[in-house]
Symmetry: C4
Subunit: 467 residues, 4 copies
């Protein structure tokens, strides 16, 4: 690496596929040979050929990406940033977003977790929104994750003394104020400059656990105070999320056909750009090795059927998270709450319910959802996207407000169901028969007869333009 600072003019000469240099955080890199290997496609890099790519690079890459993936010989050295010509921003989306942020509803106008999503959709960059909000294939599982909770109904008890309600519990031995944790999510910087740090802070303030992406850092995690090792088992390959892909595609210039079709360059969205950390050969036989290298509890995240829960108990895992990865991997897999409702009675029947702590994630938006999971046997639940949306829309205050809303809902709903503390939550308080009614994506409607039918009307006001 040269010790003389490079000038903007020098960099600007390398602005093509033949010689492509980019600046990231004040350093220049030669990425010519890397163009075809870039998981996110070459086009997005070429857009910044000869220029400063920092703003585009940051949200979608871990800080040490270039050190790990780009050969040191391609690290060209520091750039005299004074010599870089400031480009006039021609980013129409930026202006639009700034306008919307001025019109944003006040934080107090958010009364539930869905409200943050409604706001975030309007004030986030389209590509960032697409990354967070997208699911696999037709997004049926992603939506089912939420709607499945509406198939579990309550059987509340009345005339129970609920003057004081205690929502605290423990998770893997750690005491928490309320039985949810902030689940690990990727690319937090798409939503907020500080990224996941915002979530960790809010979790700390609310006496809630935040679970980081830890699989890459097993050995170092223990010293850093991590509580447990999460092994994500539902992602041997990253799912295709078409909303994400489509948004990325339209973000780059649509000159695909003009380019002659010779260089097939499939942009795969932000999701695919982070897939290099995945090992598809991971299998049950690797679990003993994990157990051998750490004293931390082992948690398998992504278990999705009864058999695998039983196997996890058998192999001596401490905990499983029933999860379909937020509906982002395999479409038409069941929601975690449905699998839990199937698993828990089997464990009870076999006397295994104390052998393992079961968590679920996916689709949780209301304290009633948390209560349902706990009634069915979960030790706690993970919540991810809602906090990302709260963060993206309102920053740290938003996350804190979201957590407070959940706590308020939780206290009230425990009162209304007739439970004064977490251990009062049990299967007799819920009716899960609705889960047997299936989850049909949609049924054909009877177009001709629906159109012929003359729908009923209410009484009419004189001023018809009004009603």
């Amino acid at each position: 690496m040269s010790s003389t600072k490079l000038t903007g003019a020098t960099i600007a000469e390398h602005n093509s596929r033949d010689s492509c240099w980019v600046i990231v955080h004040g350093k220049a890199y030669d990425v010519t040979d890397f163009l075809n290997e870039h998981p996110g496609g070459s086009r997005i890099i070429l857009r910044y050929a000869g220029k400063d790519a920092t703003d585009a690079f940051d949200p979608v890459h871990p800080p040490d990406t270039l050190n790990i993936y780009l050969d040191p010989s391609k690290h060209l050295g520091y750039v005299d940033m004074e010599t870089i010509q400031k480009e006039e921003s021609d980013d129409p989306e930026k202006a639009l977003i700034e306008h919307r942020i001025k019109q944003m509803p006040p934080l107090e106008a958010c009364y539930n977790l869905m409200d943050f999503e409604t706001v975030a959709r309007e004030v986030m960059r389209k590509t960032s929104w697409a990354y967070y909000s997208s699911g696999a294939d037709d997004e049926i599982t992603m939506r089912e994750n939420h709607s499945a909770f509406h198939k579990v109904w309550f059987r509340p008890r009345v005339l129970v003394d609920v003057e004081s309600v205690d929502m605290s519990t423990t998770m893997l031995g750690t005491k928490v104020s309320i039985p949810f944790y902030v689940t690990a999510t990727a690319l937090g910087k798409l939503g907020h400059p500080e990224g996941e740090v915002v979530l960790t802070k809010a979790a700390y303030d609310h006496d809630v656990i935040h679970l980081d992406i830890t699989e890459r850092i097993v050995r170092h995690a223990e010293q850093r105070g991590c509580k447990a090792v999460f092994i994500t088992v539902d992602a041997p390959q990253l799912g295709r999320r078409e909303k994400d892909m489509r948004s990325k595609f339209s973000d780059v210039e649509s000159d695909v056909q003009a380019s002659g079709g010779s260089s097939v360059d499939r942009s795969q969205g932000a999701a695919r750009a982070i897939s290099s950390f995945i090992d598809p050969s991971l299998s049950w036989k690797d679990i003993p090795w994990f157990k051998s290298i750490t004293k931390m509890p082992i948690i398998l995240k992504g278990v999705q059927c009864v058999d695998d829960v039983l196997r996890a108990i058998d192999i001596g895992v401490d905990s499983v998270v029933i999860s379909n990865h937020g509906g982002r991997q395999l479409d038409t897999t069941p929601s975690a709450i449905e699998i839990l409702a199937e698993v828990a009675p089997i464990l009870r029947a076999r006397g295994l319910e104390g052998q393992i702590e079961i968590y679920i994630d996916g689709g949780i938006r209301r304290a009633t959802d948390i209560i349902k999971a706990l009634c069915l046997g979960a030790k706690g639940v993970g919540i991810g996207r809602p906090f990302l949306y709260a963060m993206s829309a309102y920053g740290a205050k938003g996350v804190s407000h979201a957590m407070q809303l959940l706590k308020d809902e939780m206290e009230m709903n425990m009162r209304l169901i007739g439970a004064a503390c977490i251990k009062d939550l049990n299967p007799s308080l819920v009716d899960t028969r609705g889960l047997l009614s299936g989850h049909s994506g949609s049924v054909p409607v009877d177009s001709l007869s629906l159109r012929a039918y003359d729908s009923l009307q209410g009484p009419r006001f004189g001023d018809k333009s009004k009603l």
Copy 2:
């Protein structure tokens, strides 16, 4: 309290958070210290600081509220109302409502109970409408209350002599003309200046029972001629009704963010403003005390599962109302008609069906709904909101018309089902299997394929603009 009348000018000086006086019904009150305790938030009071607050106070507070909750030292004495400067109304909603009232459909254009709701929504103040019409969380239970009746279907008998139909019955020993009663509702003055009195009068005219909010007045009720003691057991804490909260929020100036965020002042809607009468420690062990202080029948309102009905019988309660409080408390609790369909066969199997009178409320809009409840074993049903809407839209005449419509429907439908009197209504006349089909809030639709599908069209008229 001073005996000299205060002047408007004096009051007007106390118009801030530091010193806040308001006038209610010609008397002045110092509410400075009360601002932070006000269940409805301080902002709504501050809007009337130094002014006459009577019009805003009346609809949402019982008459004796100030005497009960405000220390006598804060009662400042009578005001010379001649000295109060009449404010020009700058209430755009008032003008809009007056315009709509002129365009209102005639009362005769209301053919069913839903029609009153359609009209009331247009002619009520937004905040009043929101208070009446809102339910807990996602309002799934509130809507399910009504739609559950569509899951119970008839098995009518033909060739039964139904020339004369007798719909009269008794409720807790009192003879009534038709087996419904007007259920207790709060804040009737939001819909009509005279409030619940309108409902009581109409009930009297139609030989129907109106059941007042009685839990606060147990000891005095008996002398006043009350028939029974209602103990509301489904509201240890008032539910969150977001529609109500949202409407209240937008009613006050949206200067929340401008205020710096330092004083968090969560307005909670009209619902929360009446919550101080609730004792969350009420439990089964208190029932014997109630029984000891009165000879009136004891009715538990808000029972929601089989176990609690059995317990009520066991403890010697005279009657239960199966109710989820109109879907205003805990969301995704089942409808009363569903619980009744579960309870009744169990009572019959145990020979307990004569031990207790069971009522249900929630979602009743048609005489067929009443008939279904009675077929399933209810002694009668409670109806609340529809009469509030009828009252809000058309006053006393509206309530009377609504009751008459129900009576007309009831007589006709008893004929059509083949029942000449109330005791002819029995379980063999209904099919409840539909209740087992679940109550999914919604299922994910298959967007891509629905959009690709080219829906069937009927024949086209030459003038396409028309069809």
Copy 3:
């Protein structure tokens, strides 16, 4: 009755509630005293006070109505029609309908029975359309009648020789070309000047049976060649059809409130105007009398449950029509096809299936519907509204075309299901399990999360305005 002809001027003097004369078919009638007794309300009569009411009278009254219901003393005698001042038509609907008729799709553009309904809705008078198309209460049963057929699915057989298909069968001993009949309907003149006669002719041309309203004419029917006595048992009182009532209401001037409200005059729509032929005391004990006065087969129309079918067999009735009166009487009663699916196996189990001929009506629109009914044990099906719509839109040709479409569909679908003749249709060809899935009127949707969800989009065309 005077033998001198009355003049228009004389009649015109009696144009008020105090003295109200009207002309019908060239004769004058004094209806002053009858005003308050008119089942359709006085207002509609007063509109024609002192005028010729023939055009309004004809479609909704049987020809001999005035002779039967109006005392001879009120028959004032013939009118010199030359002296009647022709009113300029101020009927905006008439002009609109004439315009639409010019734009009507050609008859060949109707490919199925729903298509006639789509056309008829546009070219009929609003009040006539409302009378034909309306159902009881929320019209749930009316619509369920049709959609229930979609719950019965086929199990077709292949490699059956279906070169020739024979659809003929017998009904109560009469040979017909196809197993449907034209069911009795009222007020055919609302749709066509000639009324039901059009249906009878088309039925004759197609070798199909038309079943007239016969209950009023039991004794005379036999001589007139009637095949059987239909006793309608599902209408001890005429149902309330709010669409019909509402349309009638808005048809008269909306001066209800202006009239001071003193004379409550509830217009009840066309349906109620024909209710005087109904005897609510008719019961099982009257059946032997019917059997004693005629040798014709007795058919009970409107049976709706297993018990009543068994009772009909027991009492020696020849046939029943399972029917809910087109969904026009009691709402949330099941469809005939659902009841048939419940009745037929019970009859087979008891060896009674040959004892009685079972017909069904309600909601049949496709030949597949007919095939399903026959597979389940019906001898034939009745079809009503579709032919009324075909008649109202296209007259006699329309009805004939509708019948031909059904025949074409029937022949094709019998081939496709693998049945060469009517007796090949049997229960093994259908799957009725779908009928157990309930018939929920609607389930609450999850508004907040549906709104927050960002639906999937397909690829975009450059010209976005197009897609």
Copy 4:
């Protein structure tokens, strides 16, 4: 046939119903006597009377149609095409389509098989689109074919080594790269000038089987290298597809009524035009004959119930395709995946699962659909329409891209379900209980109460026009 070339002027004289000549591929034909026999109706021919009909003839007729169906005496000989007056195209649809093709999304913007359908709908001729996309009657079965796959849900296994995934399998002994084949479809030239050839080539490139329409060519097929004899058994008569009929109808001038109605000429759409190859008398007794004339495996395409699968095994057929002909024949027949789920357990219970290869087709759009079919016991699946749409929109490249998308999805989804090769797919990986939830076409909604209900809203932005 004359050896002198005819001139355009001579042909042009025969331009009426009395004498009607047309040119096809440079030869003239006298079709006067054939007009009334034309399955597609006479009108479409008369439009080209005296003119060159080649462009209209080609897409909807096999090349040898005229030789087979028109008597040699009507073959008038070659035409001097120089003498034909070129008509100015007055085809507004052609211009519109050309405009849309310019705006077409790039091929890379298609991320799944539905996307091709979305594009094809916009760039195909309306009549061609209608032929491809239409189904029988109300198109309920056609849509159910797709949505049925959403009723089968996965039970994925985790921690399976899926580093390498092998999707290859065999079909009737032939090795293929992935277990789907391109199913036989008619009239490929409606979508692309080269027609089915495009599909065959793409299939070859992707190591996939294309199955031609073979029933007409049994004896010659074997020499030509065909792998098996397909006998289509679900089409003893071609279904009515109203969308197709309607589109054809509006394509010809709507002068039907003007023509006096005397010559009923029912245009039946493209579907009916190809129906002459169908023998409705084909039955089980003919199967031995097929077996006697060929050594190729016999495949029955169109079996739709358990009984017929058992019968096929019994008679010694090698394979069945469970199919309802793409929902184009009999409406409300179940989807193939549902029948497969019923058939497979019965075969297993009787030890017959190795006796026959079962394929299914209809509604397959995702690799997850293929996986579900294989888990349930299918050897492979047929896919038809999606490739026609890909071809119609993007030609050969489109078909290839569509196949590649399926392969990419397949590899990923096998990983995510935890299967490393085809034989790992088994019934324990799927949950078919959803198939029991029925397939109701639609249920009546509760209009009045839905309209009265005030739906929940999220927080509002200041700029309301935006949200």
